[in-house]
Symmetry: C2
Subunit: 582 residues, 2 copies
Amino acid sequence: MRSSTFFERFSRTFHDHPSLVKLLVVFTVTGGSLVASAESKSYDGMNVVNSHEADSKKKKVVVLGTGWAGTSFLKNLKNSAYDVQVLSPRNYFAFTPLLPSVTCGTVEARSVVEPVRRIIRKKHLDIHYCEAECFKIDAQNKKVYCRSAQDTNLKGEEEFAVDYDYLVIAVGARVNTFNTPGVEEHCHFLKEVEDAQKIRRTVMDCFERASIPTLSDEERKKALQFVIVGGGPTGVEFAAELHDFVNEDIVKLYPQVKDLVKITLLEAGGHILNMFDKRITAFAEKKFQRDGIELKTGSMVVKVSDTEISTKERSGEISSMPYGMVVWSTGIASRPLIMDFMKQIGQANRRVLATDEWLRVEGCENVYAMGDCATINQRKVMEDISAIFRKADKDNSGTLTVKEVQEVIDDICERYPQVELYLKNKQMNSIVDLLKESKGDVAKESIELDIEELKKALSEVDSQMKNLPATAQVAAQQGVYLADCFNRMEEAENNPEGPLRFRGEGRHKFRPFRYRHLGQFAPLGGEQTAAQLPGDWVSIGRSSQWLWYSVYASKQVSWRTRVLVVFDWSKRFVFGRDSSRI
Amino acid sequence: MRSSTFFERFSRTFHDHPSLVKLLVVFTVTGGSLVASAESKSYDGMNVVNSHEADSKKKKVVVLGTGWAGTSFLKNLKNSAYDVQVLSPRNYFAFTPLLPSVTCGTVEARSVVEPVRRIIRKKHLDIHYCEAECFKIDAQNKKVYCRSAQDTNLKGEEEFAVDYDYLVIAVGARVNTFNTPGVEEHCHFLKEVEDAQKIRRTVMDCFERASIPTLSDEERKKALQFVIVGGGPTGVEFAAELHDFVNEDIVKLYPQVKDLVKITLLEAGGHILNMFDKRITAFAEKKFQRDGIELKTGSMVVKVSDTEISTKERSGEISSMPYGMVVWSTGIASRPLIMDFMKQIGQANRRVLATDEWLRVEGCENVYAMGDCATINQRKVMEDISAIFRKADKDNSGTLTVKEVQEVIDDICERYPQVELYLKNKQMNSIVDLLKESKGDVAKESIELDIEELKKALSEVDSQMKNLPATAQVAAQQGVYLADCFNRMEEAENNPEGPLRFRGEGRHKFRPFRYRHLGQFAPLGGEQTAAQLPGDWVSIGRSSQWLWYSVYASKQVSWRTRVLVVFDWSKRFVFGRDSSRI
């Protein structure tokens, strides 16, 4: 309650004094960066010492991928007891939330990437990077097979195997085309830096093509019909960016064709931004309508040809429209590497690679997975209910007293976070309320339950389980968590710090991973951003745009990219976006 | 003499007070830019008025190309009496002298380009741009045939024809491979922005490949063998950039392979930078030797395979070496479009398209050519000597008196610039000295020559004729000159301002184009630049590097690129170069 009031006051202050917002930006950027720099310094000091103690019998850690999860793991690793080999086809980390900005030149591609070697060099640990793509994981023999990623006149792809003691899989996901015909061939995606650069060139191509003197108006309109498939944050942000680009820059440079531009957003569901608060969705839909961005909900793409995109409406009607460019941004699917690996380890019937709450891949030893390539398979309370009962019933009386339950409740809540969530949603203060509710009208202290009664009391709890979203925020937090586990591996061996093992003996070595949602942004164009922050705080407008600027600047992986991104934003304000087709 | 003393003093001052250099940079940059901005403002004012007077019967000017010549023509055009259509496959102007800096990330590709539409928008004239490549010029029917340049899913190349009243050809040249087998397929060039970007990616590929754990030392060395063919300013600058990149950035990021890097520069002639003063050549060769850049002069490439480059030494011996990357930078040749056009207009036996001193293409009407795609076919004095004699001999006496010669000498010098050059080289003050020399020991006033004596006096003069170098400086000056002609087309019709027509009646409409050499730079790496300025002033070292910075910053085509380039330089100083492979 208190925090929500704080946020409200906070928000009101900003609405009243917009200049404060800018001040906040400066502080957030500087503050965030100072923290980052202070952190990195303390690492450096530690690591130099550690690296002197390095011995040859270090455990080998192989990290696959240099995205959010992999990079945040590397950035937070402090333990010099490992010999780390990083393998990724991309020798840089990309700040993916800014990719939609790259598509229209609001931010340059180079400003959102940081070379991996630069990141690991600062660590002074035994970390080595190799530009190669893993194409097979052999968990049996603890090996990964890789292929070098070069394709130039260096000739020949090198293949090689790397041994590991621990494997950290953070390869991300691929775009999900739902096997729609023609998507791979004719659509643009927006997952990699190269995708964004390609979109940028194609946008310029469309405008240049529409300016060819001999074209009919029909053909011009076709060239300037931009279709975005998928109403998630990426699709919406790209639509907004494109609209801004057209209205702020293109109108001046291509005055004769500006009125022919049409942006259409196709969403199979009923609303765009459906993971956001309804107020945000409504605002975004209204803003798009005002801006002239056509929004087609309940519209599923069934086919993309080289000239037309065909959709099926809710009514069953199938219609086609010609297009100049289609950007496909509908969701993610597992990469072939992961699919193959899942078959090996008996997860063939699953859609996504499953890990436990400690990010350990289910069904194999010493393999961790995080980020978009995996999902945490949360343990259901109901599956373990007998074990929980046995563990809690210390006097083996066959019934649990309130005291007995209270002794294990912290461990239960830690092991099964859905319990806490359930209590919170029901606005209960403690588990006793829950027991009381199921037991009916008795004095709290005298509650005693047998196993069936405990089952009944907890029967609804598992309904609270939700998969984590496939976002940069989740991946980054997982990376930090796993690095922390690796940092304290030896300590935790002797002093386990996790919850009770209900099905086994003793305690878990570590606390399970717990995601803290810090909020989410949806930039809507025209310096308007929607922000949904914890505590159900929703803010829409210019002040959130400034918050967005400050958060994104402070979250940059290095001072270098921070300076570059802020420079790009300033450049855009002063000179507009560059329309050169390079 | 005086200017040389000034330069010497100037140079000495800088050596004594290096901080002055930096001050100069600021002034030059700011000053140059202020001039540019003042100019553009005055144009704007003029052009708004002019565009109101625009009528439908404007003469159509078609400009092919948006390089140095084309862009400087467009930037300097002020006359609203034309309807200008610009056709080029590149919708931007690229500041090509900075391309070698782009190859290693000292400057970003986007910082050296300016969209054409941005340039012409500021003019408020009737100028239209279309992204298309001209593939045929039909001078007979005054038409050019074009093809749109897009290659994406927009499908289909559009072809169309454009009429012209005046045609300005400024399409540049292609790389000259001298038909060496394998060059097209396996070598990198350095003419376009895309080339520079590709080189940058390939350089990173080479380093990433050399870091693959399973490679032998032999293979690593091969990957890191960089070969540059051609010891001209571009090749030398690229070699220097690459060396700096390796020594300033790569050593930190790829410490295990840095010692395997080898840069080899192949030059068919006896020395590198042979268009520069010998002091510069000697300094560059010594610096490269110190830096460990291998220099092989007298070495001609005979073949490039996918793994090896074969050279023929002066001795006739043929040797091969494996390579990781080859950059080919040996000179230029005519584009197929121009070759085809030359056949049409009877220039089939020439190597380069010939124009007269007014940049008019020889053999056709109302077609102008400038920049690297053409060369000025200077008129020889000896060809016109009888006409000159007749014109000068006003009293038809059959002999020329000093007075008669002096009356036409200004026109002669203007029409045949080699005369002036000859006098200067012989350190003569006036033509009278020349006549006197040929005539022997007589009093100046009493000299009288017949036609044979005049021929004898001027016989050596034509030896001074030189083709202009294929540089940005020449192209830019030609663009300015031609724009100026177009600006004053109507005035000059009534008041011709050029020299006497010796073979015809009256005067030429315009003064012929005259190139003013403002000096040339050769950056040699490590903040050392060689500068050769007019008046035989040679400066080598750090102060020239600052001069280079200030000249290149002030010569930028817009404030936008000026800010970007200066920011890139600062960025490099602070953060180093980016090694991400994008």
